[in-house]
């Protein structure tokens, strides 16, 4: 799946956020919108006539759902056209197909391929050596990354909707997966060449988070874990950020529980709205909630900033995420500096 010799490409001189990065791995705690932002990143990176490939590896068909298309087969297909004529392609990697493909390429299986499927041997192999799944999945990703320019299949960027942050380090650390199982041999070579790609300047791992305690903590943890195994950490994508409404003065009043009831009641009257104590209390309660949340978010922002990585802030979309929403998020990413460097 990976060419024998992995060449780490020269880092282009363009001073974008991710000079040289072509493989963007997107992870994050469950529920933070990692698949959505991976898709938005693939669209953003395709703007200006580029070609990107969005890959999912967990068999959830989340990409098809997002783009509103039928389930993806095990083949690359175009799912969206980006601003300026760029193309977003998508691929749902299936581990058995990837394994068969690998065996076919390396060993020219012929009829034995049938027997392997028939006997459930693939299931057997990936159960007895679960780490192998990740070797074949990441191998397929690297293969897409390195598709030759000549056959027109070259992607300017490959974006991976990776496993969640609790599992991503294990997923990417394929060398560790096969150590002990295979000291020499093709799988070992395969794992090493994958690691070379993942640790090269071509790869960057982005973490999606929310301005909440647990996702922030998990982000801090996974960044440390990735750094520990020598994988390049990219940006921190802060998702679902609410629009600030209250002023600095309002926040102080709300946090000290001193919002002026009479003033608010007068204001409501001026707006032609009910001014009952119940309504005023309800609104004040909600304003206090909002102010508490702003304070919490400031603390989480501080913790994320201390990671020393570029951050992107994506708005919470009231209408939910549809294709339009994806493009909106992609535009935000582009505005905040996410782009393919070089070319």
């Amino acid at each position: 799946m990976v060419p024998d010799e992995v060449r780490v490409e020269d880092v282009p001189s363009d001073p974008g956020d991710w000079p040289g990065a072509r493989l963007h791995v997107v992870t994050g705690k469950g529920g933070t919108g990692k698949t959505t932002l991976a898709a938005a990143a693939a669209i953003a990176l395709a703007s200006g006539g580029r070609r990107t490939l969005l890959i999912e590896v967990e068999g959830r068909q989340g990409i098809a759902q997002l783009f509103g298309c039928p389930p993806l087969p095990y083949a690359e297909r175009r799912v969206a056209v980006a601003r300026g004529g760029g193309e977003v392609h998508a691929l749902a990697v299936d581990v058995e197909d990837a394994l068969l493909e690998y065996l076919q390429t390396v060993y020219h299986l012929g009829w034995a391929r049938w027997a392997l499927g028939r006997l459930g041997v693939l299931d057997f192999v990936t159960t007895i050596a679960p780490g192998l799944r990740d070797v074949f999945l990441t191998g397929r990703i690297c293969q897409a990354l390195q598709a030759s320019q000549s056959d027109g299949a070259r992607y300017d960027a490959v974006v991976v909707d990776a496993p969640p942050s609790g599992r991503v380090a294990r997923f990417l650390n394929v060398n560790q997966q096969v150590v002990g199982l295979a000291r020499v041999g093709p799988v070992r070579d395969q794992a090493e060449s994958i690691m070379a790609v993942l640790r090269s300047g071509q790869t960057t791992v982005h973490v999606v988070t929310l301005l909440e305690e647990m996702p922030t903590q998990e982000t801090v943890d996974v960044v440390a874990e990735l750094r520990g195994i020598g994988l390049p950490v990219g940006g921190v994508l802060i998702n679902m950020v609410g629009k600030p409404v209250l002023s600095a003065g309002d926040l102080i009043q709300a946090q000290s529980r001193q919002l002026p009831r009479a003033e608010i009641a007068t204001g409501l009257a001026a707006a032609g709205l009910p001014t009952s104590a119940a309504v005023v209390d309800a609104l004040i309660g909600e304003a206090v909630d909002a102010a508490d949340r702003v304070a919490l978010e400031a603390a989480e922002r501080g913790a994320l900033a201390s990671l020393g990585r570029p951050t992107y802030e994506l708005p919470w979309l009231a209408e939910g995420i549809d294709l339009g929403g994806l493009f909106e998020l992609a535009a935000v990413l582009t505005d905040q500096g996410l782009e393919v460097s070089g070319s």
Binding site: G30, P164, M214, I264, A270, L283, D289
Partner: protein, 390 residues
């Protein structure tokens, strides 16, 4: 915010009577499932605390708790052994113990329990065992079931607990939890393994010869892929595990039977968001198919308001009117805060109605969204109270 007033009249789903569920002595196991990031582990802990303070003797098995959750239960860390949670109100005669599943440790213990010491040593040294026992694919789910079985067995013997609350692994999909044990069970007990172990026994009939040839091809390939030694390692591991577990499939089926027994109740946890509710719907269907008891949906982090009649439109129109009146700037902004909240509530209500349309009979318990996470027992208590109030 304390009350929910977002119900559209006439479409209210039955309310989940959480206290009745927790108090029912017939309920021996509660399984909390749902997709990742919905607050499953915290909900499991909150319900365990509530049950314990109402007199149940509870063990809560968490899978991957945030450090803070362990700390909120007064435990610096959780490990593979149930630990008494301090400062729980035991006036009603209850007990709360908490533990965290350590997958590898549980696998090791299972081997140690069933194997002679030298046999166990050989298994532990096998590289395939190391790979299998520490990987997340399936093993974690299987070991969660294994641990649940152990806890239940212990409860049967010494009566230490009368309620076990289980959190489920953060799988890529909630359904993995149900499928993995059987998958691993049928794998270790399956045709492939038998063929793999004894291709020589299979001579004779033609179709067997074809299988045999497939296995032979497979062996050859594995040898080439991994290098020599591989078959020996795989075979010795399987033989060892086989003798120890004496039929993984039987165990998996037993576990499944546990889950189908009337004493086991499932709670599907979700947040009012599209992905989480979609997973919840899959899960509800699956439980029905497998004749397992779905006690209800726990809808976590629901936004509520005490001013439901002030709709998005009215609030925004009011704010608009005040936009040019600087003396009413505060009220304008407060109205916009309310409008945002109402918008969110509208979206959540829509998604929830969608779920209810598909599962009208599934009772729902709601917990209001909190600005901060749970930090201590009081936070867990508050969540429990919220869930019981529905």
């Amino acid at each position: 915010m304390t009350s929910t007033s977002t119900e559209t009249p006439g479409t209210a789903a039955p309310r989940l009577d959480m206290d009745a569920l927790l108090a029912n002595r017939g309920t021996g196991i509660i399984v909390c499932c749902g997709s990742g990031g919905v607050g499953k582990t915290t909900a499991a802990a909150a319900l365990a605390l509530r049950a314990a303070e109402q007199g149940r003797r509870v063990c809560v098995l968490t899978i991957d708790p945030a450090r803070r959750l362990a700390q909120s239960m007064g435990l610096e860390h959780l490990d593979n052994v149930p630990r008494v949670v301090p400062d729980v109100d035991l006036a009603a005669g209850g007990l709360l113990e908490a533990m965290m599943l350590d997958m590898k440790r549980t696998f090791d213990e299972t081997v140690e329990t069933h194997a002679a010491p030298d046999q166990a040593r050989a298994i532990f040294a096998n590289p395939f065992y190391q790979s299998m026992s520490s990987s997340f694919t399936g093993t974690q789910e299987y070991m969660a079931m294994e641990k649940l079985g152990q806890l239940r067995a212990q409860a049967d013997v010494d009566g230490r607990w009368d309620l076990i609350i289980v959190d489920t692994p953060p799988s890529r999909s909630a359904l993995d939890f149900l499928d993995a044990p059987q998958r691993l069970g049928s794998f270790l007990d399956g045709r492939t393994i038998k063929l793999f172990l004894a291709p020589a026994r299979l001579g004779g009939r033609t179709y067997l010869r074809v299988f045999n040839a497939g296995v032979w091809a497979m062996s050859g390939i594995m040898n080439r892929v991994f290098g020599a030694q591989i078959l020996t390692n795989v075979q010795s591991l399987i033989v060892a595990l086989d003798t120890i577990f004496g039929g993984f499939r039987e165990r998996a089926e037993l576990t499944y039977a546990y889950l189908q027994a009337p004493g086991t109740q499932f709670l599907v946890v979700a947040t009012p968001e599209p992905d989480a509710l979609r997973e919840a719907a899959y899960f509800a269907q699956r439980l029905e198919q497998d004749r397992m008891t779905l006690a209800g949906l726990v809808l976590n982090r629901v936004h509520t308001t005490d001013a439901p009649n002030l709709t998005v439109e009215r609030s925004l129109m009011g704010a608009q009117k005040l936009a040019d009146l600087p003396e009413h700037g505060l009220t304008e902004r407060i109205l916009r805060v309310h409008a945002q909240r109402m918008q969110r509530i509208g979206q959540e209500t829509h998604l929830t109605q969608h779920f209810k349309a598909g599962f009208p009979h599934v009772p729902i318990a709601r917990a209001a969204a909190q600005a901060t996470d749970v930090h201590d027992l009081n936070g867990l208590r508050a969540l429990g109270t919220s869930l019981a109030a529905g």
